[in-house]
Each structure stands twice: as C-alpha cells, then as structure tokens.
Amino acid sequence: MFKSVGKVTKFSVLAIWFVFTLFPLYWIFLTSIRPVREVTKKLYLPQSNSTLDSYRTLFSQYAFGTYIKNSFVVAFAASAFVIFIGMLGAYALARYKFKGKSQIMLVFLVTQMIPGLIALAPLYLLLSKVNLLNTLIALIFCYVGGMVPFATIMLRGFLQRIPPELDEAALIDGCNRFTALFRVVFPVALPGIAATFIFAFVQCWNELFLAMVLIDSDGNKTFPVGMRSFVGAYYIEWGGLAASVMIGIIPTVIMFGLMSKFMISGLSAGIVKG
C-alpha cells in the first residue's frame, strides 16, 4: 500500500516537472507556426492553418543564414582550439609531478570565481589595439581564453582514468610525449573529449554579451546578437522571435541529446573532482 502511494507520488512529481520543463518550448513552437496575424491567439494545440511563414521571414528579411553560419564557425573553431590547448594542459596535470602544480591548478580554479562580464571592456580595448574588433577571430580567441580553465580541469579528470601504462607503452614504441598524447591517449579519451567539446560548443553558441560588445557589423553577428533585432524597445515581433528561438535551440538540443549519457559522468568527473 505504502509502496504504491510512494510510486504514485514519484511519477506525479516526475510528470509535473516534465510538463513544466517542456511547456515553454511547446508554447514557443506553437507561436512560431501560427500565421502572423494570429500570433497572439491563445490556442493550446496546433491548428490547421499552421505555417512556416515566420521561419521564411527570418531568412528573407533578416540575415539569419549569416548569423547561424557565424555562430557555427565561432563555436566550432573555439571548441576545437580549447580541446587542443586543454588536452596539452590536462596531460601535464594528469601525468607529471612537478613543483608548482597545485598552484597552477589554483590558477585555473580561481577563474571560476571571476565574473566573466568584467572582461567586456578590457577585451574590447585590447582587441581594438590589435585591430581585431568586429571580427569572428576576436570572438574565437576570447571564447577559447574563457573556456580553457574548465576544459583543462574537465579533461584532466578523464585522463586520470586512463592508465599511464598506455602512454608508457607508446613511448617505448618510439612515440614522443606529444605524439603519444594525440595518437594513443586521444582516441581512448574520446568520450570525455566529446563531452567537453559539446559543453564548450553549447557555451559558445549561447554566448551573448561578448559578441554584443565586440561585433557590430551585421555580417559578423552571431545568432544571439542577431536575435536582438526582434527585441525593439516597445515592439517585439513575436512570430519571428519564436521561430528564431526554435532555430537557435535545435543545434544544442540535438548535440546534447546525443551526448546526455556521457554528460553525467563527464561533467561530474571534471567539475566535482576538480
């Protein structure tokens, strides 16, 4: 008797949270497929007059194709770089004992306390000095810099689980440390690397404020910055906004869905043990 009451409670709680989680996304989806004139109607189910007009507008009247491309370029490049740099650092921290190691760990850990927002003004000035303002390269650099600590700590967690005998064998077979890392350790650590990559990609894809400050030409805007076109001071074009939200969340949801199994072990290895 008690057991079944417990079960009912459990599944009701899970169901309520499920609905609460999905409702905003469901609602924005419904908004995005309504005809423009009916955007504000409160109909809780898809109607027969559903249309993709709002989506078409994004690409015909706004430069959303460009924004999406820019976001992909930036997120992909920054994540790839941060994995490369992070792997090198993580390898040193996981495999060597040396003086100052705990201090270096501290240098990485303390960054978690620093509000990233304070970097907005200094980085703007720094990048204007080297003439990189308003370029995607500037964004890539900033994102890599910002993500290095978490990527290094997280990858270190994965590398620690790989037995050192593996790279030892590679060294005996004539690899140097560098080739041992990328030819032998890298493939074994791939699930962890993939989790880190996706985590980094999602962060870059969603980043707004740096992109807002560093980029002002339409051709170089990333997706979240482009989205701000819909948010005028007094008027918001909800249909277009809803459609662009849908497009903006699809890539990360797909990546995340593919990786959600690895995510649990991955994140906890990196962050909790860090």
Partner: protein
C-alpha cells in the same frame, strides 16, 4: 613541440627527468588564461578608478573612489542589492531541493528513464537570453499564456501584472531561473548518488536503516563534499548570470529588477560608463572572493582526496 622522451612519473614517485616538460604542455593554456582572464581583471581594477566613458574619450582621468561612491549613492543600489540576494538565495533553494528530489527519483532506473532524463536536461543546453525572451512571452501581462491559463482555470480574476510590477517581475525572473537551473543540480547530484558504493547502502539496510535514515545518515554525509562544492559553484554562477533577466525585463521596470550582474551589463553596453561598470565588477569580484573564503572555512572543505 620537439619534446624528447621523458620518463613517466611512476607510482613510486620517481621524478620526471625534465621539469620543464610539463610547463611546455601547460604554456598555451596559461598564456590564454593570462591574456583573457587575468589581464582583464587587472585592467578592470585600473579602470574602476578612472572617469572612463566610452562616448567621451577625450575626458579620461583618474578620479579616485568616485565610481564606487557613485554606485553606493545610486538610488537603485539598495534595491539591486536586495534583488541579488533574493535572486541567488531563492533560485538556489528551489533549484537545489527540486534537483535533489528528482535525482533521488531518477537514481533507480525505470522504463524510459534514460529518455526522461535527456528531456528534462534540455534547459541546460539552451541560451539563457533566448529562454529569457521565451519566458517574457509567457509572462507578458496582456498577451502572455500564463495569465490566460490562470484566468481560464479561475485562479485569478484579473491578469497579474507579471512584468510591469517590479515585485511580480522579480518573482517571474526567479521562476524562469529555477526552470533553467534545476538541471545542473539533477546532473551533479545524480552523478554523486551513483558514486555511493552499494556495499554501504547494503550495510545500512542490514542494520535496519529505513529509507529516510539511510538518506540522512548514510547518503548525504557520503556525498557532502560534492554537495558543498556544487552549491558554491552554483552561488557564484547564479550571481554572474544576467542572461535571463536581460532577456525578460532588461532590468525594468525602472531598474527595479536588476541584479548586480545585469546592472553591470547595462553600465557597459547601454550607459557606456566603463569606469562605473568596472568599479561594480571589481566590487562583485571582491564580494565573491570573500564569500568563497568564508564559505570554504565554514564548511571546512578538506582538500578533496582526488586532486593532488
């Protein structure tokens, strides 16, 4: 990178032959962190003592503590400080307990639990700013679906001024933030729960511990270090997370829903008063630093066994 073959560190503690090797590996990471994280901190500290307005570049000079005084004297400051405390504490409270509850429920696998997890983890992959806009649409006083639902269900008789009244708006942004952040706790606590060895749980059961007793006397003490750490990380993170507020209210109406970090964004992007923005950033950094030290002292977090 022409690294020669270095002997590996073995469990018997044999030193690596070349102490420079690990530093070469770490160099790119350290350079990036120095340029893109630590340099901005120093530059911010410097700028916070300057009169520095982006639109008035010919008029930049050191002005002592003027920026800090300006922040404390700002009429919105008290409200913003209160909002920040409310934003962090209420969001954290609900995120933690809902996250803990869901993690306990999800620990034991059931049919479709994998799928269920993937779906309720979705908010975590989404942009805070985008979701802020979505919630703005839902909470909208006149056009929003929430008022419509509550009216239809007879819960209210007149629409709630969710976004035009400052207090309701604070509630709205916090609700959105809870929605957004529970996932983090579910993931982290679930991982921690899965790390509790089965032998301990079996032993507790043999000793006749009930479910509640096992939870409070066995499981929670076991995962306590993890809990302490993720709560700390989360407090810092929520403090520095203006995205949802930026999307939903942009701090309005009349500056009344700003928290410190969204105020900072406003100072940097709209007001372009970089001196004041830097001063605010420096204050936040100091407060977070002091808080972290006290928090760690108070919880006496032992150096965790796995790091070295």
């Amino acid at each position: 990178m022409a690294a020669s073959v270095h002997k590996l560190v073995r469990k018997d503690g044999k030193k690596a032959q070349n102490i420079l090797a690990p530093l070469w590996f770490l160099l790119p990471a350290l350079v990036m962190v120095a340029i893109f994280i630590y340099y901005p901190v120093l530059a911010t500290a410097n700028m916070s003592f300057k009169n520095y307005k982006l639109f008035d570049q010919s008029n930049i000079f050191y002005n002592g503590f003027e920026n800090f005084r300006g922040i404390f004297k700002d009429l919105a400051f008290r409200r913003i400080l209160q909002n920040t405390v409310l934003w962090v504490s209420v969001s954290l409270f609900f995120q933690f307990f809902i996250g803990f509850g869901l993690a306990l429920y999800l620990k034991k696998k059931f049919k479709f639990s994998g799928l269920y997890q993937s779906i309720i983890f979705i908010p975590w992959a989404l942009s805070g700013f985008l979701m802020g806009l979505v919630w703005k649409w839902i909470f909208d006083d006149n056009l929003g679906v929430l008022n419509d639902m509550m009216l239809k269900l007879g819960l209210i008789e007149t629409p709630i001024p969710w976004l035009s009244n400052a207090n309701w708006a604070m509630a709205a942004v916090i609700i959105a933030n809870i929605w957004y952040g529970v996932t983090f706790f579910v993931i982290m606590i679930l991982a921690a729960l899965q790390g509790v060895p089965n032998e301990i749980l079996e032993a507790a059961e043999l000793d006749g511990c009930g479910k509640a007793k096992t939870l409070f006397l066995v499981i929670i003490p076991y995962i306590r270090p993890t809990l302490i750490l993720i709560v700390l990380l989360r407090i810092i993170w929520i403090t520095n997370f203006p995205d949802i507020i930026f999307g939903m209210t942009s701090g309005g109406p009349n500056q009344q829903t700003h928290i410190l970090s969204s105020w900072l964004v406003q100072k940097i992007t709209y007001d372009q008063d970089w001196g004041s923005g830097s001063a605010l950033g420096l204050l936040m950094l100091c407060v977070l630093f002091i808080f972290t030290v006290f928090y760690l002292l108070a919880t006496r977090l032992e150096k965790d066994s796995e790091g070295n």
